[in-house]
């Protein structure tokens, strides 16, 4: 078995005491980041990348650390959802629907333990899925030429805009802003400066880490300043934690279904974990008998389904990111930024050229999962205590970490000022309901997308129909258009549920 020998190699790398320690640290930090309201997987991972980078970790170690943080944050998001009715991150929104009612009914401990198990189940399912599917997909990806890649990038932007946002035009605007920012700097092919305004700092382009930390972390500080930390209220108390074995076992099928749905949703480029938890919740609600099932009033299955779905989607989102270089969610976009910072180019060649990175990563995901289960079930009380860190300490701290991180990368004022500008922009966009994830995706993929287009045109000598010439490319174009247009009609049926208020 090819997979088993690869996996053995992966474990050989991941089981060294050093990597194991990094995985534990990453899981711990990640759970805290996920649990704290105002810090989610994307901005949590974002502020840690510059630090991980300036620590001088090698590629595998940095990857293990950051993916542990990523998985940890996906686990941790449920804690504040259940106890405070504040989703620690967007995908955890669905967990509030039944988690908070359960906590109010005095079953906070049960809800936390069950959702912890569901997270474990979903993440394990997805990691195994990733292991089986990613090598196969990477073989298909070998057939991708520039025309196919161009269509694929388009698909990522259109599904991100179509499914994950409320307004297509605003998502399209955000994508174009990101792509437009990516154009700044020296043209790859002619070596001529573009949009630099003669500024030397802009010759290298806009560093995506500056944009990410600005849009995610600094913008969050602005949001909290405007709201005066409202929303960081005191929630429900947690007294005793037991393991409700019977309910977990009876929810086995729920978790399996939710994991499968979440995994598939995660694989779709651009759709990501929010869609995964949403679909897992609504489909489970329908299977259990719609409104009569008690979903929304504290049904344990209503906690397990979205958590399994959300964590499975988090793993699924790694599939397109690793094999094609196209991230499936905001956080995987941040992880892609990490890979690019480490000079690793995701794509089909990653599996053949750097197998130690891929399989080390997969093995450490499996390890991280077990570490997280151990942390999130018996030790959940520690993380609950961390929730009481008030916003007026947390957010200034986040800002300082962002500044030091970016400053230690380049040591230039210019990057810091640009980060602040991105923060203000992100705050304004949040007010205008413009999604910021497409901007990040645009900055990350902009040059690749343009290169793909230009190489395709070189191959075809300027014939634009070449873009639709292969079956794969045409299929991707059709999906891209459908993914962008269809949600306009489906929006009335599939209404995004909003957070419940007391």
């Amino acid at each position: 078995m090819d997979i088993l020998s690869n996996l053995a190699m992966g474990f050989g790398i991941a089981l060294s005491p050093w990597t194991l320690m990094l995985a534990v640290i990453g899981c711990f930090l990640g759970t805290i980041i996920g649990a704290l309201p105002g810090l989610g997987p994307s901005n949590g991972v974002a502020i840690l990348i510059p630090l991980a980078f300036s620590l001088g970790l090698d590629a595998t170690s940095a990857l293990v650390l950051m993916t542990s943080v990523y998985y940890g944050a996906m686990y941790g998001g449920r804690i504040s959802s259940i106890l405070l009715n504040i989703p620690g991150d967007e995908p955890a929104l669905m967990t509030t629907l039944d988690g908070y009612p359960m906590a109010k009914a005095g079953k906070a401990g049960d809800a936390l333990v069950m959702s912890g198990f569901a997270s474990f189940f979903g993440a394990l399912f997805a990691t195994i899925g990733l292991m089986l599917l990613a090598p196969a997909l990477s073989r298909i990806a070998y057939q991708f030429g520039p025309a196919e890649y161009f269509a694929l990038y388009l698909l990522a932007f259109s599904t991100l805009g179509g499914i994950a946002s409320n307004n297509q035009a605003k998502a399209a605007l955000a994508s174009c802003i990101g792509l437009g920012i990516a154009m700044i700097g020296l043209d790859n092919q002619t070596g001529m400066p573009r949009f630099t305004g003669g500024n030397l700092h802009l010759m290298d382009g806009v560093d995506f880490l500056v944009a990410i930390v600005g849009l995610f972390a600094v913008a969050e500080v602005f949001v909290f300043i405007e709201s005066h930390g409202r929303g960081s209220s005191i929630g429900v108390k947690l007294d005793k934690v037991t393991v409700p074995v019977r309910e977990i076992v009876s929810g086995g099928w729920t978790m399996l279904r939710a994991s499968a749905i979440g995994f598939v949703a995660g694989i779709l480029p651009g759709a990501g974990a929010s869609l995964g938890s949403f679909l897992a919740y609504t489909s489970e609600k329908n299977i259990q008998g719609g409104d009569a099932s008690g979903f929304g009033t504290g049904n344990p299955k209503g906690v397990m389904a979205p958590e399994a779905g959300n964590n499975a989607a988090a793993g699924g989102a790694l599939v397109p990111m690793l094999t094609l270089g196209v991230p499936g969610s905001g956080t995987t976009a941040v992880l892609l930024a990490l890979l690019m910072t480490l000079n690793i180019t995701p794509g089909p060649t990653l599996f053949t050229d750097r197998p130690e990175v891929v399989w080390g990563l997969i093995a450490s995901l499996l390890i991280a999962n077990f570490v997280l289960l151990a942390m999130n079930v018996p030790l959940v009380k520690i993380f609950v205590r961390i929730l009481s860190v008030p916003a007026w300490v947390l957010l200034p701290g986040v800002m300082m970490i962002s500044f030091v991180g970016i400053y230690s990368l380049s040591g230039s004022y210019f990057d810091l000022l640009m980060m602040i500008a991105f923060g203000a922009l992100g705050w304004g966009f949040r007010k205008l309901d413009i999604p910021t994830v497409p901007i990040i995706l645009g900055i990350l993929l902009g040059n690749h997308m343009e290169d793909a287009l230009r190489r395709a045109m070189v191959l075809s000598d300027g014939d634009w129909t070449y873009l639709f010439s292969s079956g794969i490319a045409t299929g991707l174009w059709i999906f891209a258009v459908a993914g962008f247009v269809a949600p306009m009609f489906l929006r009335k049926i599939l209404k995004k549920p909003q957070a419940i208020t007391d």
């Binding site: 630090l51 300036s54 620590l55 035009a169 605003k170 399209a172 605007l173 174009c176 802003i177 792509l179 437009g180 154009m183 043209d187 092919q189 002619t190 070596g191 001529m192 400066p193 573009r194 949009f195 305004g197 003669g198 500080v221 602005f222 909290f224 300043i225 405007e226 005066h228 930390g229 008030p390 916003a391 007026w392 300490v393 957010l395 200034p396 701290g397 800002m399 300082m400 970490i401 500044f403 030091v404 400053y407 230690s408 004022y413 810091l416 602040i420 923060g423 203000a424 705050w427 007010k431 205008l432 309901d433 997308m449 343009e450 287009l453 230009r454 045109m457 070189v458 000598d461 300027g462």
Partner: protein, 191 residues
């Protein structure tokens, strides 16, 4: 029909102006002899055109917003009008990028006045960024963290203590745990 002046309409006008400026700068990109069929102008121009279409959609079909967010205020409109004149004038008569810079600065000032806490926080961060190198880590961090903490929860003593604690705590973590080369105090103090 609500008021004509909705945040989305202003947004539409702004993005169209910015896109026009972007397209105009795209036409200024120098080409070289190493050229390909697409060239370095096409993709940016396509982006600009897409943004203009989005801007038109915002103007024609603005989202419904909450009362507070619906109107940015006449102040913003006046400044935007000025900015528009600036950008269009720049487009027709000159190639002077400073005009656009000034226009952006004016818009930013107007928004800052409208949402002054955000403006104040932005200025604090800018000052912090500029002070970090000459004054060392500890003092600017304590002050900036205290200001932001006070902005989130207006209790002066608590904010000051938070600032000092964060500054010292983060310094210890960054310097000794993570080994980053931070300078604690102004260079002149250390001789």
């Amino acid at each position: 029909m609500g008021p004509i002046l909705k945040a989305d309409r202003i947004l539409g006008a702004v993005v169209i102006l910015v896109a026009l400026w972007y397209i105009q700068s795209a036409f200024q990109i120098q080409t070289s002899f190493l050229s390909d069929p697409v060239g370095s102008k096409t993709f940016p121009i396509l982006l600009g055109v897409t943004v203009i279409i989005c801007g038109l959609i915002f103007i024609l079909r603005p989202d419904r917003m909450e009362a507070d967010e619906r109107v940015f205020g006449m102040q913003v409109v006046q400044v935007l009008a000025a900015a528009g004149v600036f950008i269009v004038a720049n487009w027709f008569f000159g190639r002077d990028i400073d005009a656009v810079g000034w226009a952006i600065l004016l818009v930013a000032t107007a928004v800052m006045l409208r949402y002054w806490p955000i403006g104040a926080a932005t200025l604090t961060m800018v000052a912090y960024a500029l002070a970090l190198k000459p004054l060392g880590f500890l003092i600017p961090t304590a002050i900036a963290a205290a200001v932001l903490s006070w902005q989130i929860m207006p209790r002066p003593l608590q904010a000051a203590l938070t600032g000092i604690a964060l500054s010292i705590g983060l310094f210890v973590i960054f310097k000794y745990l993570l080994g980053l080369g931070l300078q604690p105090l102004p260079k002149t103090w250390l001789g």
